[in-house]
């Protein structure tokens, strides 16, 4: 397929996944800010900014971290390239670019999401109706995924689209785990009563709360959480699940010359596949995740070089 189309499919899927992530992160943070002791409220609210590395952009545009400012920034601000509004617009731009490669259903799901979002933005979002927008964003993400699964031919277009989803997801899981795990561990020492909520916030951010209970029961142990989100193959947002998909997708994609992305992905997947919690503990979770994030970014860059880069 066309390199440009592969790139647009890849980014379109990344953007849509990012929209869902932003909504989940913000949703959890706003809820946590209500539960949290007052002095930690700002820390709670800043989590989405830390995870997405956008604290500086935020500070340039807003004076202080309030729920409404966060809602404006993360959901609707068109000056912020990672706001839900901006990423859905970018996804739709990319979709328009490669309309010929999309099924009518997929195109329609993205196009109508964009139309509805413009409407939502026009009406305005406040703390009291923000939940509706979070639900909406998640639903749109599900509809997109459903349309893609249900109607796209299983060819390279589909594979590049899924690669975008899983690269973005692996990246997100690692970042959320890194930051929230740190906060939860800290509060385990400082505010023991608070800790249960911290752990559930982490799990909810990654839609893994039910998975945890199913696997480990009600008691939340820090290393169990890490193990679940890194090593468990059956948790949809775990690093292992994402990497398994990435490695297998890269194997399926038609390949001309030697492709480095394949090697990088398979090697990272093997690391996780044969890894265990003792190794992660030994290494230190933060260091482990920092290394993982570097490697996932290298894979993403290499995918773009291998398949999408054309320097004439």
């Amino acid at each position: 397929m066309l390199s440009r189309a592969a790139s647009s499919l890849f980014w379109m899927a990344r953007y849509l996944e990012r929209a869902e992530t932003q909504a989940r992160l913000l949703d959890v943070s706003l809820t946590m800010a209500l539960i949290d002791v007052p002095e930690d409220r700002e820390e709670q609210l800043s989590v989405p900014l830390l995870v997405t590395g956008t604290r500086e952009v935020f500070d340039e545009l807003y004076n202080d971290i309030t729920p409404q400012n966060l809602i404006d920034f993360l959901l609707l601000d068109d000056r912020h390239p990672a706001s839900v509004f901006s990423v859905i617009r970018s996804a739709r731009d990319n979709a328009l670019h490669i309309r010929g490669n999309l099924s009518a259903d997929v195109w329609e799901s993205i196009n109508s999401a964009w139309m509805e979002l413009k409407e939502l933005r026009h009406k305005g979002v406040t703390e009291s109706n923000a939940s509706r927008v979070f639900d909406w964003t998640r639903e749109r993400s599900h509809v997109f995924r459903g349309a893609a699964y249900g109607t796209l031919l299983r060819n390279d277009a589909f594979h590049f689209l899924r690669l975008g989803t899983f690269i973005e997801r692996a990246d997100t899981t690692a970042r959320v785990l890194d930051i929230r795990h740190h906060m939860a561990t800290k509060s385990l020492e400082g505010h023991p009563t608070q800790s249960f909520f911290e752990w559930t916030a982490l799990l909810h951010s990654l839609a893994a709360f039910e998975a945890y209970q199913h696997t480990y029961g009600h008691n939340i142990e820090p290393m169990n959480v890490a193990e679940l989100l890194i090593l468990k193959p059956d948790v949809p947002r775990s690093l292992r699940a994402c990497l398994q998909e990435i490695a297998s997708l890269l194997e399926q994609i038609q390949s001309g010359d030697a492709r480095r992305a394949r090697r990088l992905a398979s090697s990272l997947y093997a690391n996780i596949h044969y890894g265990d919690r003792e190794y992660i503990e030994e290494r230190g979770l933060h260091e482990y995740l920092t290394d993982f994030l570097e490697r996932i970014q290298r894979i993403s860059g290499q995918i773009q070089k291998d398949y999408m880069g054309w320097k004439q």
């Binding site: 390199s3 328009l96 309309r99 010929g100 490669n101 009518a104 004439q312």
Partner: protein, 477 residues
């Protein structure tokens, strides 16, 4: 619901001159009488939302980039009887065949010029004429693989050709989407009426494009100027329907006079380009040097015979309004047949006697630029103010060769659902004629309709709408 009858002296597609419903339209009339206005209004809103969701929109030049506008869609179909269609189809075949013969001739043997039917100046001095195309051998000697012929029905009930579009005629996606929309909104109508299908157009187009190359299994792509082009929706739509790549200039490159596209597995050779970019922008080395849309070196690759362009370079010379008056003669000259479809009588202002007539009768005439399109740069005499008339007089005197004039034709009308209810509105028709191993078309075409009472301007860029076109199979209806 009440259907307004048409004014006298105009052919109406539904009512005959005695205001009786034409036999082929009785079913339609029954439906209209039974439908109430609220239901139609609701269906129209439903259609708008669907078109918007599907993104069946176009961009209007001069407005904000990316401003998506809907082409107004009218719910009431225009009906064409089987007899009318058969005659029209034969006429279109004949016409497009002659036009392709003409294009071959003016780039090879010049028979028609030597025979004195058309002057050499008319052809060679035409800015659309591409000297570089001379003696180039094209597969099957085809130049215009896809032609869109604009027809109107005059008050004598006959169809007249208004314009031949041989370069990048657009609108076929609306023909297809209009049908889909009608079937979705009014399935019961299709259960009653024997409407000839049009859904296979993309298949025929694909077949035509593959036949444009002599290779057994050619790689075909659609080349678009990109998403800000007014017809981008159509380019993407057709590529998807045919299952081929939609490429932009930057996706292609030339190596050793061959065209390749940049794919994820490396360069892949392209054999046929269904290009939706005008000649001048296809290759910055050969045409407009500022063009970012085309591919440097494409023209040389084309001339080497390593790629086929559909439509060919230099077809514009045959759809120019100054050549249009000669098409009936072309049909006689190349095919030895009498033209089946009529031309609109045309005065060529380049001829002094014609110019004098035009200047003397300006308030009764329509004046058009020979290179004009989209309803721009024209004068409709009977509707023009004194100031406009005198402005056009000076334009005509300054550059007579730039203009032709035609009598103000009365385009036929068809019941259309507008604010005033169901009222007659003027319309035209653009059937799409495909030339490959044989000449093929789907029954009907794109019907464009002027939505303002009395208006003759049907162009979508100027507020015109579209409606579904029904060719009825058999005549039993």
């Amino acid at each position: 619901m009440l259907i307004q009858t048409p004014p006298e002296g105009i052919y109406d597609e539904l009512f005959d001159e005695d205001n009786r419903v034409r036999p082929s339209c009785r079913m339609l009339e029954d439906w209209l009488i039974k439908s109430d206005e609220d239901l139609l209004a609701e269906k129209r809103r439903e259609a708008d939302v669907l078109f918007q969701r599907l993104g069946i929109t176009f961009n209007v030049y001069g407005e904000d980039q990316g401003a998506d506008r809907l082409i107004p869609f009218d719910l009431i179909p225009r009906v064409i009887s089987a007899t009318d269609w058969q005659r029209m189809q034969a006429g279109l075949r004949q016409r497009v065949q002659a036009l392709n013969r003409f294009l071959f001739d003016i780039y090879h043997d010049f028979d028609i010029i030597r025979a004195g039917v058309i002057s050499a100046e008319q052809v060679f001095a035409n800015p659309q004429y591409q000297p570089g195309m001379q003696n180039l051998k094209l597969p099957r000697n085809l130049y215009s693989h896809i032609a869109g012929i604009d027809l109107i029905r005059h008050n004598d009930g006959d169809f007249y050709v208004l314009e031949d579009n041989l370069r990048c005629p657009s609108g076929v996606s609306y023909m297809l989407e209009n049908r889909r929309m009608m079937m979705r909104l009014f399935p019961e109508l299709f259960a009653q009426a024997p409407v000839a299908p049009v859904e296979h157009y993309p298949a025929l187009l694909g077949e035509t494009l593959r036949a444009a190359s002599l290779k057994p299994n050619p790689t075909v792509v659609v080349l678009t100027p990109g998403r800000f082009n007014s017809a981008y929706f159509e380019h993407a739509f057709l590529a998807r329907q045919m299952g081929i790549e939609l490429v932009e200039g930057a996706d292609l490159f030339i190596r050793q006079n061959r065209v390749y596209m940049k794919t994820t597995i490396g360069p892949q050779q392209v054999d046929v380009i269904y290009r939706r970019i005008d000649d001048d922008f296809l290759d910055p080395l050969a045409g407009n040097p500022d063009s970012m849309l085309g591919v440097p070196g494409l023209y040389a690759a084309y001339r080497s015979g390593n790629v086929v362009l559909a439509n060919a370079m230099g077809t514009g010379v045959a759809d120019d309004k100054s050549i249009y008056p000669y098409v009936p003669d072309m049909i006689r000259f190349y095919l030895g047949e009498e033209p089946i479809l009529k031309n609109v009588p045309t005065w060529q202002c380049r001829k002094p006697r014609d110019l004098q007539y035009v200047l003397d009768n300006l308030p009764d005439l329509v004046v058009k630029e020979t290179q004009g399109a989209g309803g721009y740069g024209m004068l409709i005499g009977p509707r023009a103010s004194k100031k406009e008339l005198s402005h056009f007089r000076s334009l005509l005197k300054a550059r007579p060769d730039n203009y032709i004039a035609q009598p103000t034709l009365s385009l036929s009308t068809c019941p259309t659902f507008v604010d005033e209810g169901v009222a007659p509105r003027h319309l035209d028709l653009r059937p799409f004629v495909l030339s490959g191993k044989k000449i093929q078309m789907v029954p009907g075409g794109l019907t464009r309709v002027a939505l303002k009472a009395g208006s003759l301007v049907v162009n979508s860029s100027q507020g015109g709408g579209t409606k579904d076109t029904w060719v009825l199979e058999g005549d039993e209806c």
